[in-house]
């Protein structure tokens, strides 16, 4: 046999095994980190046609989210307002600012501003905004502190895990209905255990984990 395999090959199987284990661990770790929504989606911040600042409008001025996204309580869809909503103020404020040229043009022509969509649920996922915001789930849970973002970016992974974590244990993410649009609200101590559980009970929160809840 010695004429077939040189002596150094005696140690080869162990080396190959260790190499394969390291490679397997590396591939697993790499896939987990680089190929899951926590990495692939979070931080997405496309350049928008108009540099609209949520910091100024929702943060400093304290506009309610619903002033612009006025469908969110009634519809599965949270709408982006038409330019007319902007013009309610901007026909007085900064009315000749060149940065708002596209807004004025859109308000006149009726042709929508080509905003770039950031939060996109796949077409095989059904998501209803109204049922969430009306049962104490705040905007901030899925969209992050938008009132502190100059330009909106994808703050949370919105992966299936993300949805299921909350559906499996909704209590910590529920808040009093009047605080849903207050993105800076901090729950008092032990709120989840006491009040959150009460909300789940009182509002009959039945966060379904069935496939067909979202994949209809």
């Amino acid at each position: 046999m010695s004429d077939v395999f040189p002596k150094w090959t005696n140690k080869l199987p162990g080396k190959v095994l260790i190499g394969a284990l390291l490679l397997g661990a590396g591939v697993t770790a790499g896939l987990t980190y680089y190929f899951t929504p926590k990495y692939t989606r979070v931080g997405y911040q496309p350049i928008q046609p108009v540099a609209f600042s949520h910091t100024i409008h929702a943060g400093q001025l304290g506009l309610d989210c619903r002033y612009c996204h006025n469908g969110v309580e009634k519809s599965w869809y949270s709408n982006v307002p038409s330019a007319n909503t902007c013009m309610n103020c901007h026909n007085q404020v900064l009315k000749d600012d060149p940065k708002l040229a596209l807004v004025r043009e859109s308000a006149q022509s009726g042709k929508p501003i080509p905003w770039v969509q950031i939060h996109k649920t796949p077409d095989y996922v059904y998501f209803n905004h109204s049922v969430h915001v009306n049962r104490g789930v705040s905007c901030v849970h899925c969209h992050g502190p938008v009132n502190k973002m100059d330009e909106v970016r994808h703050a949370k992974s919105l992966s299936m895990t993300f949805c299921l974590d909350c559906h499996r244990n909704p209590a910590p993410n529920l808040r009093p209905p009047d605080q849903v649009y207050n993105l800076d609200w901090v729950p008092p101590q032990n709120f989840a255990k006491t009040q959150g559980a009460k909300f789940v009970h009182d509002w009959k929160v039945n966060a379904s984990q069935n496939c067909s809840a979202c994949h209809r």
Partner: protein, 475 residues
């Protein structure tokens, strides 16, 4: 060795004729002959017939992979599946192939534990057949899921969706059963191959052969310690494989029995499926080995007695299958469930009557031809019957799957399944894959367990007149 030493001090009178067992290796073939002859199949020039078998097999296999490519790129609509028949040839083929595998495990594991010495001549080829059948079987459930790039969801892997497969589903149990079965069968087969691979390595004349066989022989030297470890490993693997013979097809039968479909929801399914699987497996072993023993001149090693024994297994398991068919009908009537009764009446006399009666002819009538000893020992006859067994067992799965599905409770949910050309060519092509693998196996690996067969030759018994424990003899 073959020649009897003349100076033998012990003379043992031959036992009376009625007590003599038919030897497992005929014509007093020597140990050297066994090594030379079996290795010779691997080492000799590639025979012409091999090419005539191999090229069409590869072509058929290519057809199957093209069909699979078409299926994946287009969608499962290229098959004849539609409401109400959502499973048809795909799952039929899966159960057909996985069933065939059972003969290998039964021969290698159960017959080993039961000390059935006749297994040694056929176990290697039967185990190889098992592996290749499992490979064919594995393809069908994989491609029938539609979006096969998501097939990894079948395995309980942590993932970014934080979901797990449905552990309550027999379809998941199936994944585990079949993959365990494939893995253990491969290990068992390979463990048995190691000493023979070393034989081929030591006989090899070219550098490449030395390297290839040497690599897979894992440094086997045939020392006492090697043999001792080998025997232990082999026994352990036999013990591990034995429950698999029963569990795999039981779990395959759960795919149906755990559901509520009349015609499927039957407690008799697990034993009935296991018996059917062994039945079909032995059918396929005979289909493969009867021509091979003639072509490769192995008549002294795979003897008529071996074929006879396998025919008896077919007779036994075929009778169990026939009993199960009868019992299904009895329970359908005795159980008093009109839907169950209808499912079975429809099976025999409905639009698929032709499939049902083909199955009955092949599986119930054919095995009973083996009651007659001279018929069991007629190779041409056994070969023909073995083909009918294969056909019958394919029809059995087709009948169970399609006839139970095609008439739902409401007549508006009635339909008739017709295969498309893709259905047909994928199935036919799977035989191409099977035969390609088997032909490669018989050309490059020892088709018969050389070291084990030597152990069951008459002269390996020290008490035999030609045996080794005397002056001048050794083993």
């Amino acid at each position: 060795m073959a020649s009897a030493p003349d100076n033998s001090p012990v003379k043992i009178a031959p036992p009376p004729a009625e007590l003599v067992r038919e030897p497992l290796v005929l014509n007093n073939r020597s140990l050297g002959y066994i090594s030379d002859h079996i290795s010779g199949i691997v080492e000799g020039k590639t025979p012409v017939w091999w090419w005539w078998a191999f090229i069409p097999s590869v072509l058929l296999m290519t057809v199957m992979f093209c069909c699979i490519g078409y299926l994946i790129s287009t969608g499962v609509g290229v098959w004849g599946l539609n409401h109400p028949v959502g499973w048809a040839w795909d799952i039929t083929n899966f159960v057909f192939w996985i069933g065939i595998g059972h003969a290998g495990t039964l021969i290698s594991a159960i017959l080993f534990l039961l000390r059935q010495k006749w297994r040694t001549s056929v176990n290697r080829a039967a185990e190889a057949m098992t592996l290749f059948a499992v490979a064919c079987a594995g393809i069908f459930p994989l491609i029938h899921v539609g979006r096969i790039w998501l097939a990894w969801w079948l395995f309980p892997l942590p993932n970014a969706n934080s979901i797990w497969p449905q552990f309550k589903s027999p379809l998941l149990w199936d994944v585990f059963a079949v993959s365990t079965y494939g893995t253990v069968s491969l290990l068992f087969w390979y463990t048995g191959l190691v000493p023979d691979l070393a034989t081929l390595r030591d006989r090899a004349t070219t550098k490449l052969r030395k390297f290839a066989y040497g690599f897979f022989a894992l440094g086997w030297t045939g020392s006492n310690r090697h043999w001792s470890n080998y025997e232990k490993a082999y026994l352990l693997l036999a013990g591990l494989s034995t429950p698999l013979v029963l569990s795999v097809h039981s779990i395959v039968s759960f795919d149906f029995a755990v559901s509520q479909v009349p015609g499927w929801h039957t407690t008799i399914f697990p034993p009935y499926f296991v018996a059917g699987a062994v039945f079909s497996g032995f059918g396929m072993v005979l289909t493969l080995l009867i021509p091979l023993r003639t072509i490769c001149k192995l008549e002294d090693i795979i003897t008529v007695k071996h074929v006879d024994m396998m025919c008896k297994v077919i007779l036994a398991t075929g009778s169990i299958v026939g009993y199960a068919y009868g019992m299904e009908f009895f329970i359908a009537w005795y159980g008093g469930n009109p839907y169950e009764l209808y499912a079975f009446q429809n099976r025999a006399f409905g639009p698929y009557w032709w499939a049902y009666w083909s199955m009955i002819t092949c599986n119930v009538i054919c095995p009973h031809l083996f009651w007659k000893r001279s018929w069991r020992r007629n190779m041409v006859f056994v070969f023909i019957v073995s083909i009918f067994v294969n056909i019958g067992m394919w029809f059995e799965r087709f009948v169970i799957i399609v006839t139970s599905l095609h008439r739902d409770y409401l007549p508006s949910n009635w339909g008739y399944f017709t295969p498309t050309w893709v259905d047909i060519m994928t199935f036919v092509g799977s035989f191409g894959l099977f035969f390609t693998l088997f032909l490669l196996f018989m050309r490059f690996l020892p088709m018969i367990a050389i070291s084990e067969v030597k152990g069951v030759t008459p002269q390996a018994d020290p008490h035999h007149p030609l045996g080794g424990a005397k002056v001048g003899g050794h083993h």
